[in-house]
């Protein structure tokens, strides 16, 4: 789990080119600028008040950030913060459950030989190919028959199973939990559950954290599922909340500043999490399927 750095570059390659490689440097900086522009823009635009947004140069900072913040907080008695809390709940709790389910399922598929193992694994992987809307529409209809549509459950339950998470844990369990250790624990009379919870889970922890982070980002960023499932805006996650705010703003451009400030606040936690992921995750895991 070493973070990937260029300093790990082999000396053999570095020795052949002593001068700065300008073409790659310029291409990379242009790429970085392209990726940064919208984020830089949203940071600056969030500081502008309503009139400044339309009148001043777009990359000139304004004077209304605190005002925007308090307007956003006042908007419908602070529903913005409710949306943020909902997103944190859906993503946090959902990713936690997802990591737990993936841990058990991936461990079973990676550490045991049993009848139907490959069939089960392939079936779950095929689930990735099913277009999200093919699932979302009948999921909605079925959940509404159970009286669960437009509830916290309707957002949480469909997000728990992650085929990618199961796949990742399967690889991770097979590589990091030694069979000898499991055998020794069995000899000592440990139950399978105890072996899993006390030996396997701690050893698979880096893989499980990766699953958690991926799932957290995935649920936080999801738009289609809440768009289909939820009607009551008290239960909206931030993505759907900001979308409806913009949809109203189309007739009231005064709401634009709120949407822009909201966008900035909504991406801050994810950018923070992203910096954590950067240090944490293993790119080898990410590309596990590529190298296979």
């Amino acid at each position: 789990m070493t973070p990937l750095t260029l300093t790990a570059d082999t000396t053999g390659r570095a020795a052949t080119a002593r001068r700065t490689a300008w073409v790659p440097t310029i291409v990379l900086i242009l790429g970085a600028l392209y990726c940064l522009i919208p984020i830089a823009w949203v940071v600056i635009a969030a500081t502008k008040d309503r009139s400044e947004l339309f009148s001043t140069f777009t990359f000139a900072p304004g004077s209304g950030f605190l005002q925007n913040l308090s307007d956003l907080t006042d908007y419908r008695d602070g529903i913005f913060w409710r949306w943020m809390a909902n997103s944190a709940f859906y993503a946090g709790f959902g990713a936690l459950l997802s990591a737990a389910v993936s841990a058990a399922g991936g461990y079973a598929l990676g550490r045991f030989a049993f009848r139907g193992r490959e069939a089960i694994f392939k079936m779950i992987l095929a689930g990735v190919l099913v277009p999200s809307v093919v699932l979302a529409v009948p999921q909605y209809l079925l959940l509404s028959k159970l009286g669960m549509a437009d509830s916290y459950w309707s957002m949480l339950l469909p997000s728990i199973l992650s085929p990618y998470g199961v796949y990742l844990v399967r690889i991770y369990a097979a590589a990091s939990v030694p069979a000898e250790l499991m055998e020794a624990a069995r000899m000592d009379g440990a139950s399978e559950w105890r072996i899993f919870s006390r030996i396997a889970v701690p050893m698979m922890m880096p893989g499980l954290i990766t699953v958690f982070l991926f799932q957290f980002v995935g649920i936080w960023n999801n738009f289609l599922l809440p768009y289909v499932m939820l009607a009551d805006d008290e239960k909206f996650p931030i993505t759907l909340g900001l979308y409806t705010l913009l949809a109203q703003g189309a007739s009231q451009p005064a709401l634009y500043t709120l949407v822009i400030t909201g966008c900035l606040l909504a991406i801050l936690p994810l950018i923070g999490l992203f910096l954590v992921i950067q240090r944490f995750w293993s790119l080898d895991l990410l590309s596990g399927s590529v190298k296979a």
Binding site: A32, S132, L135
Partner: protein, 333 residues
């Protein structure tokens, strides 16, 4: 599956996926296991996964197929209890889907959008990955982080931000074009709309694909480059003749996922819809299905459309996998 008659010796740990197809029979040990208990353990560990898979994948798919074969029949004037009944409709909904020009157009739009997004995004991802892999490129770690950063931004928020950047009143691009007295293109209109959507997808997806390709590049042993240099190869020659062929499997994989994502484009056009009048509510296939199910309340037609889209995705996926399989095999030969 738990009903399969298992032997006590069936519970064997397998190596790190070495066998891939390891069945209980093929790894049966020579002596009986000391304990018979625990042989059902893998099934217990799979209970949550399989329950969720059944409840949120298998049952919904089955329900969608069932719905797609039915329709509502209205008796009389459609009032009162029992006036509306679900009746068998056979392939009627499917023939409607195939005749539905609105859905056909949405598929064509998705193809046009994919033709712009996929080559641009994967081309840029490959270019950036190769540049990152160049020795002595300055600020490479910084650029890698920044190019990957959009991955952290929710698609809908990326689309909202770009939407504002496209709005003439607030856009820095319009501002600059105005300063130089150049005409400002309407980014919400006709053909430009494709470029506007494509740009958002390219912005959001390039970094992830770059990392996948870059990781594959890092796995190439440096001795290969040494040998090529002794033979007089240039950096460009090494990139074209060694690096790109070696990362081809990663490119195929990223291409595969991009095609699936293209068929499912939903977020970007949905986000830009409030900012423009020119966008039909069935712009993309997913929007057409949503529109049918929830705005026209035709869940039967919507289900049939969804099943058609799913089948198309499967056919496309397996065709792509087969082509890439043949390609890599010929490559090895």
């Amino acid at each position: 599956m738990t009903s399969a008659p298992l032997q006590g010796s069936d519970l064997i740990e397998v190596g790190p996926l070495a066998d891939g197809t390891g069945t209980a029979q093929s790894v049966r040990p020579s002596r009986p296991r000391p304990r018979r208990r625990g042989r059902s353990a893998p099934y217990w560990f799979l209970v949550p996964t399989l329950t969720l898979f059944a409840a949120f994948t298998v049952v919904p798919i089955g329900y969608a197929i069932w719905l797609s074969l039915h329709k509502v029949q209205v008796k009389g004037i459609g009032l009162g209890k029992g006036a509306r009944a679900q009746v068998w409709n056979g392939i009627g909904n499917y023939t409607d889907v195939l005749k539905d020009s609105e859905f056909g157009h949405s598929v064509l739009r998705a193809f046009g959008y994919g033709l712009i997004v996929i080559p641009t995004m994967l081309g840029l991802a490959l270019l950036f990955a190769l540049m990152l892999d160049t020795p002595k490129a300055r600020s490479a770690p910084f650029a890698r982080l920044m190019i990957f950063l959009p991955y952290a931004v929710p698609g809908i928020i990326a689309a909202l931000m770009w939407g504002f950047l496209y709005l003439p009143d607030v856009s820095p691009f319009s501002y600059l074009l105005d300063k130089f007295g150049l005409p400002q293109p309407d980014l919400f209109d006709g053909g430009n709309l494709y470029l506007s959507f494509a740009n958002i997808a390219v912005w959001g997806g390039t970094g992830f694909n770059m990392i996948v390709i870059y990781t594959a590049l890092r796995a190439i042993p440096p001795e290969i480059y040494e040998a090529a240099r002794i033979d007089g190869a240039t950096d460009l020659g090494i990139a074209l003749k060694i690096k790109i062929p070696i990362v081809m499997p990663s490119l195929v994989l990223t291409f595969f996922f991009s095609v699936i994502a293209t068929l499912q484009v939903f977020t970007e056009p949905m986000a830009l819809k409030p900012l423009t009048n020119g966008l039909p509510s069935s712009w993309s296939p997913l929007m057409a299905i949503y529109d049918k199910a929830f705005l026209q309340s035709d869940i039967y037609g919507a289900s049939a459309t969804a099943v058609v889209l799913a089948l198309a995705t499967f056919v496309l996926s397996f065709t792509l996998l087969r082509i890439s399989d043949r390609y890599t095999r010929e490559d090895r030969a």
